[in-house]
Structures are given as structure tokens and as C-alpha cells.
Symmetry: C4
Subunit: 423 residues, 4 copies
């Protein structure tokens, strides 16, 4: 009878097992192309990303990638210093934008450098889990999903970057006659770069360098969110495979040893989540912090009138995109937590005669453990967090709006009256 049971199990597994050749969907392979792209911008400088398995990964301080990463880190740090120096002359939102942006990027590079050291071990643990749970197969089309999401996010970022440049070049073009002047004006007067050229001389070389640094920084900023999304997706898919199998056995009579095995597999998944969290929780904190800041900023911008089609387009896209990224990030990361709770429901359906110590232990583990990504343990990413975030944004926004309107009214009142007098 036990034999018959195991046959049934095997059959059930057969259906979900995907072929061994499909390990293109193992996380190590599925994520590799994205990491290669990131390495072009100096992020996550590990060696052996395209190797046959996780064992080929290693980190070396004296590798070209690591040196390149440190080089860009220093560049971003320099930009931040420029921004800080410029802010000295007075605090305003426009000027703190630069500090926050380059501060975020600098921190991001430092954290990804730190992550690069831990990445090989993390990927080995992940691969071991994939192998030990081989009977569930690999997530279907993980490879494809990762590619689609990465393309979507990076394209969105590219469009935003292009619109940002266009809108400012338009402004520069309106103030100047020929192209050289336009570029000169663009770099020294409008927006993002003037902090550099306030302290540096303008030349073609410095201008080009600045452009490149800025492009890389924008990439890094967007890649942080993308990276958390992809990692969350891959982990959720592993939980999903596990849950699918459990649901297929819902309400059946199964021996205690079966549940002991399942619990151990669940425990391994929860271990992996914890290891992953310890590696990326700082990146998560930085990502949430900067997104919160820029959403508030963009909302505040939405109150001042916009002139020009490109400007309006840029604003809408930029705001929509940061919102889309934050919500997507939150939902994907929260889905780990959601999936980690699902086995609970299958355990409630276990028939009384099959409910033994290990089932009860499994249930108590699910209930008492919090399996989720976190921001340095300050918060766990769940769906409730997204609601709290929304509430916080609305509150801050309303208050910022007021602050803004008071200043405007205050100065208007004074101005109006002054003007009236001298008429």
C-alpha cells in the first residue's frame, strides 16, 4: 500500500517535473544575461557568470570587473561631493535632488560590490536547493520571464533618460543660436550637470565624461529595482512549485515521513530566503528610501504648471515610471511572503487520521516564521507595507503641498501689495 502511494506520488511529480535539459531555467542561468548587462555598467563584478554552474562563480578584487566597478563608484562619489558643495549655498528641493540621486547611486555601487563577494555562496546555496528539489523541476519559462521584465524596465528607463535629455536640450536650444553654444548652455546652465561645471571648466572631454557618468548612474538607479524584482520573482517561483505540488495532494492520506520531508524542503526554502535577505536587505532599504523620496518630489512637481509638450511628456512618463517600478517591486517582493503562507491552507485540509506531530510542526513553523525580504529588518515587505507606504506618501504630500502653497501665497501677497503701491 505504501508502494502504491509512492507510485502515485511519482506520477504526480512526473507531471510537474520538467526535463533535465531545461536547466536553462535554473536561476544561475536565467539571471546570467541580466548580470552581464549590469557588469557593463560596473555592477555586481563577479567572475564566471556565464559558467556552467554556480561553482564557477568567484569574486576577485584584482579582476578587471572589480576595478571597473570601483572606478565608477569613485566617479559617482565625486558627483555626490559636487552636489553637496553646491547645496551649501542654500537648501532647496532642487538642489537636494542631486545629492539624493548621486548619494543613492554611490551607495548602490558600494552595496553591489559587497554583494558581489557574497554572490558565489548565495548562488551555490540556491543551486543546491534546486538540485535537492529537482523532483519539482525548474520554474516554467523563468528564463523568458526574466528577459521580458528586464527589457521592459530598462526600456522604460531609457525612454525616461531620453525624454529628460530632450526636454533640457529644448530649453537650451531656445536660449542659444548654434549647436556648440546649445551644448555649452545645456551642460553649464540646465539641470543635472551644472553642479559639475560650476567647479570644473567646460570642455568637450569633460562634457562627454559627464554624459557617460550620468547615463551609468541612471542605469544603476533603475537596475537596483530591477534586480530586486528579478530575485523576488525567481524565489517566488520556487515557492510556487512547492505549493503546486502540495495543493495537488490536498486532503489525501499521507504518512508522517512524507510531511517531515515536505517540512524540510520548506525549511530549506526559508533558509534560502533568509540568506538572500541578509545579502540584499541593505539594497532593499536604499531602493525603498530613494523611491519614496522621488515619488514625493514628482508629486510636488505636478503642482507647478508644465510648459511644452516634451516637458509634459517627460514629467508624466517619469512619474508614472517611478510609480510603476515601486509598485511592481513591492508586489513582487511581497509575493514571496504570500507564497510562503500558502502551505498553511493545505495543512488545514489534512485528514484527522493523517494529522501527526510533523504536520503540526510544519504548521507551527509556517505561522511563527516570517519568510520575507526585509529592509535591514526594519520592515518586512508584505502587501500591508504597500498600503502603509501609500498612506505615508499621501500624508507627506498633503503637507508638502501646503508648505508650497503657503510660500507662494506669502510671497504673492507681499509682491502684489508692493506692486500695487508703486503703480
Amino acid at each position: 500500500m505504501t508502494g502504491g502511494f509512492f507510485k502515485e506520488c511519482d506520477l504526480a511529480m512526473m507531471n510537474t517535473v520538467t526535463l533535465n535539459e531545461e536547466n536553462v531555467n535554473s536561476f544561475h542561468h536565467a539571471i546570467s544575461s541580466v548580470i552581464v548587462t549590469a557588469q557593463c555598467f560596473g555592477l555586481l563584478p563577479v567572475l564566471g557568470v556565464t559558467g556552467p554552474n554556480a561553482a564557477s562563480l568567484r569574486f576577485q578584487w584584482n579582476s578587471f570587473r572589480a576595478v571597473f566597478s570601483i572606478f565608477i563608484l569613485l566617479g559617482a562619489g565625486l558627483n555626490m561631493c559636487f552636489a553637496v558643495v553646491l547645496m551649501q549655498s542654500g537648501i532647496s528641493f532642487e538642489q537636494s535632488d542631486g545629492v539624493v540621486f548621486f548619494g543613492t547611486v554611490t551607495t548602490t555601487y558600494m552595496l553591489f560590490l559587497q554583494l558581489a563577494k557574497q554572490w558565489p555562496n548565495l548562488m551555490v546555496e540556491w543551486e543546491n536547493l534546486e538540485l535537492s528539489q529537482k523532483h519539482y523541476g525548474y520554474p516554467r519559462r523563468l528564463h523568458l520571464k526574466i528577459k521580458i521584465i528586464a527589457t521592459a524596465v530598462l526600456t522604460g528607463a531609457l525612454v525616461e533618460h531620453a525624454l529628460s535629455k530632450s526636454s533640457r536640450i529644448t530649453v537650451a536650444a531656445a536660449h542659444t543660436d548654434n549647436i556648440t553654444d546649445m551644448f555649452h548652455h545645456y551642460f553649464t546652465k540646465t539641470g543635472t550637470y551644472n553642479q559639475m561645471f560650476a567647479v570644473m571648466d567646460y570642455s568637450f572631454t569633460t562634457a562627454t565624461l559627464t554624459l557617460i557618468t550620468n547615463f551609468i548612474a541612471t542605469f544603476a538607479w533603475n537596475f537596483t529595482d530591477l534586480f530586486i524584482i528579478l530575485v523576488s520573482l525567481a524565489l517566488t517561483e520556487r515557492f510556487h512549485l512547492f505549493n503546486q505540488y502540495l495543493v495537488s495532494l490536498r486532503g489525501k492520506f499521507l504518512p508522517e515521513s512524507f510531511w517531515a520531508q515536505r517540512r524540510e524542503e520548506y525549511n530549506n526554502l526559508s533558509h534560502l530566503t533568509r540568506t538572500l535577505d541578509s545579502c540584499i536587505s541593505k539594497i532593499v532599504l536604499v531602493s525603498f528610501g530613494s523611491n519614496l523620496y522621488f515619488i514625493c518630489r514628482q508629486l510636488l512637481n505636478s503642482l507647478s504648471p508644465l510648459d511644452g509638450v516634451i516637458n509634459t511628456l517627460y514629467f508624466c512618463w517619469s512619474f508614472g515610471f517611478v510609480l510603476f517600478r515601486t509598485v511592481t517591486l513591492s508586489l513582487y517582493a511581497a509575493s514571496i511572503y504570500d507564497e510562503s503562507l500558502l502551505p498553511k491552507r493545505v495543512l488545514y485540509d489534512v485528514p484527522p487520521e493523517s494529522y501527526r506531530g510533523e504536520v503540526s510542526r510544519f504548521l507551527s513553523q509556517i505561522v511563527t516564521d516570517t519568510v520575507a525580504l526585509s529592509g535591514m529588518n526594519f520592515f518586512h515587505i508584505t502587501r500591508t507595507l504597500l498600503l502603509t507606504l501609500a498612506g505615508t506618501i499621501v500624508t507627506y504630500e498633503i503637507v508638502l503641498v501646503q508648505l508650497n502653497s503657503i510660500t507662494i501665497i506669502g510671497s504673492n501677497t507681499t509682491n502684489n501689495m508692493t506692486r500695487k503701491f508703486y503703480e
Copy 2:
């Protein structure tokens, strides 16, 4: 002795069992008339609503009801587009009202269309539960309760709609001489419809069509809340029947198999709640969001002076009604959660010699599972939520009041001074 026990049980059950003919109180029958009403306005276009049982329900894309529903959905969407277009010229509360209102209605129609597809399966699960727990009978007078609540809410909505029309027609009448002019003025100048006639020519046909669309939209907006209230009521009643039976056996010695059965019944109820939640949680989110918005709006309106009796009456009724609907909705939906926790107390009273594995398992299920409706899992509807909501409204309100008063003072200051000058 066990025989004696079961006799006692049977007797206890007899008392609560209602006759088979009383399945007029089965949820499928009790809700049917309300759904028929909703279908007159294009909501929930399922076939077989008045059929003998849930098996007769089905959804077809090519049925008249579905086509009618899609038709109205498009109409509401069109109105939303008009409102969005008009809002372009400047953001203000008055103009975002239209967008929010028609946006809500459009989304509602989309969600009810989606629900219609899931409705047959949901009702079959519900009916199966009713049959498997037939020994508890059907909720007493569910049919009647549903009718009373539906009548009360819809009448209230009708009164609000009538007052809204009257208050604006009064305004129109004050500006015009004859009736034709009055209607013309009413449609093109005052309030809700001007966004349509700003882009469309005024004619008798378009005016009538607009009136009807508006009437349907108002119905849909009110029906959303009504629907959640009724569904919550029906589910609460099922939990109530179950709890009543448990309470009647409080403190008695009962075999483990008895508790295993009760736990299974509880598990089925919790399954049904989860299925229901997965079907309507989006509708719940939309309903809470729009109610939160309109309560804040009405509170803000309460600060500007009201002129005319009809206007004052309209405002008071409108505000009181949206408040009443939100509170009722929250309390009914929260009562599912409250009832789902009650068996806990009976389990604490189980005598020691009767406290076995399944009792402990039952208790741990009640404690570890959250059986409640939710807004897309962002929040669970409990009594605490209502308090949080109240706190949020008060905070937002205070801030909005300030924003308002600042603007008024600011403009007053400037105006006053300007006026004084030219005197």
C-alpha cells in the same frame, strides 16, 4: 453511551434545523431578486439567476445581459474620458470629482463582468456548503433581511439622486424663464453633465441619454456597497448558525470525532470565505477607496456656506448617506471576522478529559488563520480597520481644511487690500 450522545446531538440539531421547503433562505434564492434588479442596470450579467439551484447559473459572452453590460461599461468609460479631457484645463477638486466618479463606475462594471464569470462556481460551492451543513438549517429570514437592507439602501440612493437633481434644477430655474431654456441651462451649465455638452451638441436625445447614463452610474455606485453588505450578511449568518450550535454544547464531554467533524465544517466555511474573497476583493478595494474619497470631499464641502433649503438638505442627506453606507459596509464585513473567532471561546470551555488532538488543532486553526474579507489582501476588514479609517479621515480632513483656509485667507488678504485701495 455514544449512542445516547448522538441522540442528544440529534435533538439539539432538530431544534435549529429548519424545514427543507424553507430553502427560500438559501443564499442562491435569497439574493436572486437583488441580482435581477442589478441586471436591469447591466451589473452581474449571469444567466439562470432565478433557477431552482446554483447549477442552473452560467455566464455567456454572447448573451443579451453580457452585451448590455459591456454597452453600459463603454458608456461609463466614455463619460470618464470626457471628464479627463475637461480636467486637462486645470486640476481642482470639483473637476476631479467627475473623473473619480465615472472612473469608479467604469471599474465597477469591469469587475462585476469579471465576477459574473466566477459567480456560477462560487454559488455552487456555497450551495454545497449549505447542503453539507443542512443539519444547521438555513439562516432564519435571510430572504427578508436581504430585501429590507436592499430596499433601504436603494431608496436612500434614490432620494439622494432626486435631491441632487432638484438642487441643480433650482439653480437652473433661477437663471432662466421657460422650461426648455431651464433644461438647456441645466444640462449645459450646471454640474455633472457640462463635461459632456462641452464637447457634444445639446439635443433632446443626447440630454435624455445622458440622464439615463447618469442614473445607471449612480445605481452602480450604490449597488457596489449594497452587494458587499448582502454577501457579508449571508456569510456571517452561516458562521452564526455554526457558532450557535457550538455554544449550545459548551462545556459538554464530546468525543474527538465530534470535534474533528466540527473542525472540518469550520474549514469549509473558511474555504468559502477565501473563495468569496478572491472573487470580490477587488470590488471591496474600489468601494473603500471611492468612499474614502467622497467622505473627505463632503466634509470639505461642509465648510463652505450652503445657500437654499434644497441645497442644505441635499448636502446633509448626501453626506449622511455616504457615511452610513461606509460604516454599515465595514461593520457587516467585519462581522465575518468577529464570528470566525467565536468558536475559540467554546474550545476554551472544553473539559480536560475531552481535550484531544483535534480540539487543539481546531483552536490552532482559528488562531492562526485570518478568515475575513480583504481589499486585495492589502487590508483585512475588521473593526480595527474602521477605527484606522476614522483616524485617517480626521487627519486628512484637518489638513485639507487648512489648505482651504489658507487659500481663502491668502486671496482675501490680497482682495481686501486691493479693494481698499481703489475705494
Copy 3:
């Protein structure tokens, strides 16, 4: 050996058992004098309060006390109506004070009337618990503690009432010559009573009646808080007796039947808490709501300059007293919850060989059940609530301060300028 154990238990109990004659500390006797005082003001109109035991309590609609209570209820309702009518002419904090005050008092009378009907049953359950847990004795000096707290709170209220009258009579005296005029001015111009005499003619009779009504209303307002404090105190003491006994057996080896008994006693205490909560949770909600309102109001008052010693004294006392009452109330009510959690710690110290099913069940009951007073289940009164309350008050206060300062600045700006012009 078991016999030896029970002897030890008996001895341990002997020490804590107080003599039968000491049932002066039973809750029914200890609270009686306070209830008699309350009945002089028409609150809690039950008969048999001074009877030998709880069985002598009963409620009758046609008793003098009930009729008296309804009479005062109507008087308070009338006052509220006057206040509402007067508020029609414009909403301001000063005028909403009257509505909130008399609204609270009217609601309080209604709720105490309702409580009077439930009081006999509640007290019988309480007495039964006291008898079934007679081996723990009665709380030491409960009688005395209740008297001290009642005296302190009521004296404080009397001082506040007297200061309130003095401060206003001083104002009236400053505007008038003789005593008759002073009283006339006092009643028709200053503060609390003008809403009555705006619609009613002034005469000696109506003035005296008003004074009495006002005195009674103030008593009722203060008594609500006092009542919750005393009831919480008495319940906490019962939990305390239970915990003291448990702590005295900390770490000892005890049979499972011993723990089963203790769990049952704990269960009875938690039952009593729930019954009590179902009786007074509405009163708790009203009390917290009105205290929150008046604390915000007084804090706001603290910003406008105070003139005169009596006025300053009145303000300080009034504000300090409402703060003291709210904090005391919260802490006493929260102590029920704190005490209900204490047995947990004794259970952690149970030696392994004595840790059986009933001990584990006892622990799980303590952890999964929330034994506390609540405000209609919207919130449970715990220490955390007090912190939340403080945070809420600070937030609202800061915002109200702003609203206030803006209005003042706004009007000042306009006034100043206008004045300057005409100089």
C-alpha cells in the same frame, strides 16, 4: 505524596485566604456606596444595591430610581437640543463644546440605564466567581481603595466645577453693579447657560433648574471615568490574587489536575472580563472619545492668553484634571490586560516532568486570548493604546495650533492693514 502535596497547597492557601467576615471586600459590597452616590444623580438605577448579596439586585422600569434617571436623561437631551439649535448659526469650537458635552452626558445616561438592566446578572456572575475562588480570599482593602479613589476623583471634579463657576461669576461681577444683575448677566451672557436663555425667559426658577442640571451633568461626566476605573481596579485585584498564588508555586512539581483547575479558574476570570466588557464597552468608547476631544480643546485653549488668577487656576486645574483622569483610566483598564498575561511567566518555569497537556493548553489560552476591556471591540485598552493616544493628541494638536495661528495671522494682516489705512 499527592496527599502531602495537597496539604502544602492548603497551607499556602490558608495564608492568603481572608476571613469570611471580610466579604466587605467582595465587589458587590465594596462598590455599593459609590453606586448609591451615583443614584443620587440618577445613574445606574438598580434596586437592592445595599442588599446582602448580588441576588438582591434587580432592575424595574417603574421604580422611582429608573423614572428619576429617565427624567434627568430627558433634561440632558433638552440641553443638547438647545446647544444644537444655537450651533446652527455657525460652527466654532466654543459652540460645539456645548453639543459635545451635553451629547456625551445624554449618551452616558442612556448607556447607564441600559447597564442597569444588565447589572444584576453581571454582579451574580462576579459573586459566583468570588465564591468559587474563595480559597484566594477577597482583595485586601478593596473597600478602602474604592472609597479613596472615588473621593479623590469626585473632589477633583467638585473643585473644577467650583472654579468654573467662580471664574465666570467674576466676569459677570465685573460687568454689573448689584447681585441680581450679576446673576442675570451670569446666566444669560457668560458661558455654559446662554444657550438655554437664548430660547427661554430668565427667571429664578429656570436659573436654579439650569444650575442643578448643569451640576448633575458635570457629575455624570466625571462619574463615567470613575466607574470604569473602579470596575477595572476590582477586576485587576481578582487577577492579582490568582497570580500571587501561582507565583508562590513557581517552579514546583505539580500534577496535571492542579493545572487543569487553575486553567479553569483563569477561564472563569476571562469569562467575567468578557461579560463585563460586553456591558460597559459602549461607555468606554464614549468616555475615551469625549476625553480625547476635551484634551485637544484644553490644549488649544492653553495657547490663548489667560487673564485673571481664577481663570488661570481654573484652566490649569481643569486641564490637569482631565489629563489625570484619562491617564488613570487608561492605566487601570490596561492593568487588567497586563495581569492577564502574567501567568504565562509562571508556566515557563514549570519543570519539564510536570509539563503536561493542560499546562500547554493553559499557556496557549493565555497567548491566544485577549483578556481586556475594549471600546466596542474597536480597540483593546492596553498600555500601547495610551502611547497611540498621546501620539494622536500631539499630531492633532500641532495641526489645530497651526489652523489657529493661520486664522489669527490672516485676520491680523487684514485688520492691521485696514487700520493703518484709515489712520
Copy 4:
């Protein structure tokens, strides 16, 4: 086989056991030098701090240290009275600063006096725990860590104090010619001391006394935070030793008696935490409250323009230091809670055949008990608290900023206009 197991255990313990002579790292010895420093300023006046073990500690009211402590307590109280008297003339942030500062210091002295009475018992319990868990050894380099942290915090405080004096003496020097005048001006006009010399005559003696009192008060204010940090550190290290040992046995088969022993040790640690919490929870509350106040104040200061290098330096250091202290304090105190949860993860890894009653009991104790420092049970110090605190500060800050800007704009508007008129 069991013998073999115990050998293994002993070996594992050997590795972590530190030599008996290393009891320099016992808490009693490690903290002694810090306490001696504190006693120079009258804090924690216990005798026998440098004794060989905790048994030599005792508190005497008639000891010199206690009398000295009371003497300083009275001095601080006097200062607070001066500050209160001065505040009478009008409430503003500048003047409430003095009240809050000296109020905090006075309360701190009272609480440390109270703590001194409980300190001997607390240290004996701590030492007993250290002895009963001797097989884990003493925390490595606890002695050194405590010294480093104490030096860092106290040096930081000294720098702040020096900068504060310098910045004000600079102001005084700018207004006066010779040194005597400068000091006179410094004491009677600028900042902290003017409240004293407003009621007292200026003389060299009073001035010196004031300087000393102020120095002591500043020390006490900083020492509060330092003390909580050190105590948290020492307790965390004990949990850490325990967890390290558990982790080293992760996944091994171990008898139930082993887990029973571990659970008892964990229970002792949790007992110690609770005793410690009952001793210092009031100090924690005062510390958090005053830090919250001064962070808000400093942030508000950051908005007014700073003149002079020393002033700017003082402001930056002062603000950075209070922020650093609060964050460090929160993180160290929260680490107790974090460490107390870690054994949970080892228990999840216990193999099924070794999972018996005591393991499950251990797990349930970890999950159901909250082992953390608290602020009088109003809040537990966890990482989440730090986030809540940050959110609260940001909210209050934004609102305070507004209040500030409104007042400035309001007065500017009026001033500007007035000025314009008379020109």
C-alpha cells in the same frame, strides 16, 4: 552512545569556554569603571562597585555617595524651577528647552537613585546567571568594548559641551571689551544660565557653581543613553554566547533532556531581561522622550540661518551627536530582541526523530514571549520602533517647519506692508 554524545558536547563547549581568570569580562567587573566615573557625577551611588563580586554591592542612604547624589539632584531641581519661573512670561521653544533639559536631568537623578537600590540584587542575579552558564564562558572582550563605547560617547559629549560654551562665549566677546565683562555678559545674557541670574545676583562663586552644575547635568544627560547602550550590549553578548553554542549543534540528533536544559537556560536569560527591564524601563522612557524632543528641536534650528564657523560647527556636531546616540541606543537595545529570537531558527532545523515535547515547548516560549527592553511597557525596543520613530520625527518636523514658516511669512507680510507705508 549517550556518553559519546556528552563527550562531543563537552568538546564543543571547551572551545567556547574562556578561562576562569577571564572573569574580567563578567558584567560586574566590565561595567565597574564606567559606574565609578558616573559616581563622580553623583549617579548610581552604590557601594562596592570595585569589589570582587556582585555580593559586595550594597546601597546605603547615609553613605557619602548617596548624599552627594541627592545634593546634585536638588541642584538640578532648583535649576528646573528657575527655568519654569522664567517660562511663565511666555511659552516659546527657546524657553521650554531649559525646562525640558533640567527636567530630564532631575528625573534622571531620581531614577538612578532608585536604580541604585535595586542594583545589588540585579547584579547578583546577573552573576548567578553567568556562573550557571559558565560553560559558555564570558563574552569576549566585553571589558574592552565597554571601555571603547564609553570613551567614544563621553568624548563626543565633551566636544559638544566645549563647542556650546565656545559659541556662546564668542557671542559674549563680540559684545564686550574686557574678560570680566565678557564672563558677566556670558552668564547673564547668553543662553543657558540667564534663567539663574535673572533671579540671582551675579558673583564669581555663583557663576562657578552654575558652570559646574551645568557640566554635571550635561554629563548625566549623556550618561543615561550610554548606560542603556552598555547594559544592552552586555545582555546581547550573553544571548549571543548562548546562540553561538546552539548554532554549532544545528541539525544534530540530541536527547530531549538536552533541549530541556537549553530551554531552562534561555528561560533564565529571559528572566534576567525582565528583571533588568523592570529596573531601567523608566530610564529608557525618559531617554527616548528627551531624545525625541531634542532631535525635533535641532532639526527646527537647522532651518534658521547659522552665523559664524563655531556656531555652524556646534550645530552640526550637536545634531549629529544626538542622532548618533539615539540610533546607537535603539540598535543596541533592539539587538536584545533580535538575539532572543534566533534560537527559533535552530529549532526549525532539529531533525524529526529528535523533535520532542521540550523542543516544541522551547519554540513556543520563544514565539509567545517578548524578550526585550521596554519604555515602561508602553513600547518594546525593536528595529520596527526605530522606523516608527523616524516616521514620527519626519511628520512632526514637517508640521513644525510649516508653523515656523507661517509665522515668519505672517509677520513679514505685516512688517513689509507697514514699512512700505511709512516710507
